[in-house]
Symmetry: C2
Subunit: 229 residues, 2 copies
């Protein structure tokens, strides 16, 4: 088959996704919901991080979670055990969530008005970079066990993300991981990326993460007012 | 666009890849080259593992390496520093190597007759599962830092692999990682999968890995003789 035909099909798929992501974004805005798209390699600790965050934030505002995995509902079950509603999406052969899946899952969540929606994408540092889900921004979770050069080797994901959460910093003493170098590499592909270090196991750094979320929430409000005005 | 059209395009892409993978397989067999396709999450330690293996094996038989990454030639440079030839393939937006890329890279390697070709795929536990490169078998590298349930959440990759190399076992004392449970989960999706534990940092377990490689090499010979007969 011709290369042109493949490119055209890719354009069609992405074009359709863009339209549906726009619909999601409009719904989130109308509901006053701040949506984050969490992306990472498999095993970087997205779910452990979310379990801690939802437990510590759930009394402050409504929270919902959409969990993406090829198979299993393990992650949604871990979230639900905290009392926070979670919808599992299984992508089967698929390597990323798309806007249609997120829109359908959002329909099944209770109203989150004025709250936060965490979307945990399939663990994959490549494909989810190209698929807008309608989120306010992407958060790339990166583990100290992964090696410093990943931002250079998988630049699209780091370029597409607003925040890099470096997780598992409790392992730093036993790893030869150069934190400053990792941050330098991430800024080389995305000079604007914000960086926070956390440990989902010990809770270190989470206060700064919550402050960052509140800052995003404040950013959202003037935009809404401007739109309304 | 219609779902049918997408499925047809996927079939065309996979069909073309199958044909080229068959060509690669025939070439490897004719050259007496044993080819392994190493797959994993980003950061599981494939390159560190290969650096150690090629240093320790390069005096025993010819070795070549094909390195796949979205960007950078860091990994090929790390291999070349050992004196072993390596070709870097950059996939750009692509999330996996395909048979055409591997065939073209193989052309650029010196003759490996009677030796081993290691193909390090893009770090991605999803997409490389569906793309045959012409290898003798896939080896899935899995790090103790990734969490036990990955074989269930990304079953295609574990089902497609002949060997699971559990790397970073030197970190076991500081992690809450259940090795037996991980192996049980991997066998649930692939009862035939072989399992070895290694540490690319300390060298633990590598003797068993080399014995496994020699066993694959012996398996290949009778096949060649049968073909020749």
């Amino acid at each position: 088959m011709s290369r042109d035909r493949i490119i055209q099909v890719e354009r069609d798929i992405l074009g359709k996704n863009e339209r549906l992501a726009g619909d999601n974004r409009a719904r989130f805005r109308a509901d006053g919901v701040l949506a984050f798209n969490l992306v990472s390699s498999p095993g970087a600790g997205k779910t452990s991080l979310l379990v801690r965050a939802v437990v510590e934030l759930k009394d402050s505002f409504p929270i919902g979670v959409i969990e993406g995995d090829q198979q299993t509902s393990n992650d949604a079950e871990r979230i639900r055990a905290t009392g926070v509603p979670a919808i599992q999406v299984n992508t089967g052969k698929g390597c990323h969530l798309d806007a249609a899946m997120v829109g359908a899952a959002y329909d099944r969540l209770p109203h989150l008005n004025g709250g936060v929606l965490f979307i945990e994408n399939v663990g994959n540092l490549v494909c989810p970079a190209g698929f807008d889900l309608g989120e306010a921004c992407k958060i790339v979770v990166f583990s100290t066990a992964e090696g410093e050069d990943k931002p250079l080797k998988y630049p699209d994901m780091f370029a597409a993300s607003s925040l890099m959460l470096i997780n598992k910093i409790d392992l730093l003493p036993v790893l030869s991981f150069d934190l400053a170098r990792t941050i330098e590499f991430a800024r080389r592909v995305n000079p604007q990326i914000e960086v926070l270090t956390v440990s989902a196991r010990t809770g270190e750094g989470f206060a700064a993460f919550y402050a960052w979320i509140r800052k995003q929430s404040e950013k959202m409000k003037p935009v809404d007012m401007a739109t309304a005005g």
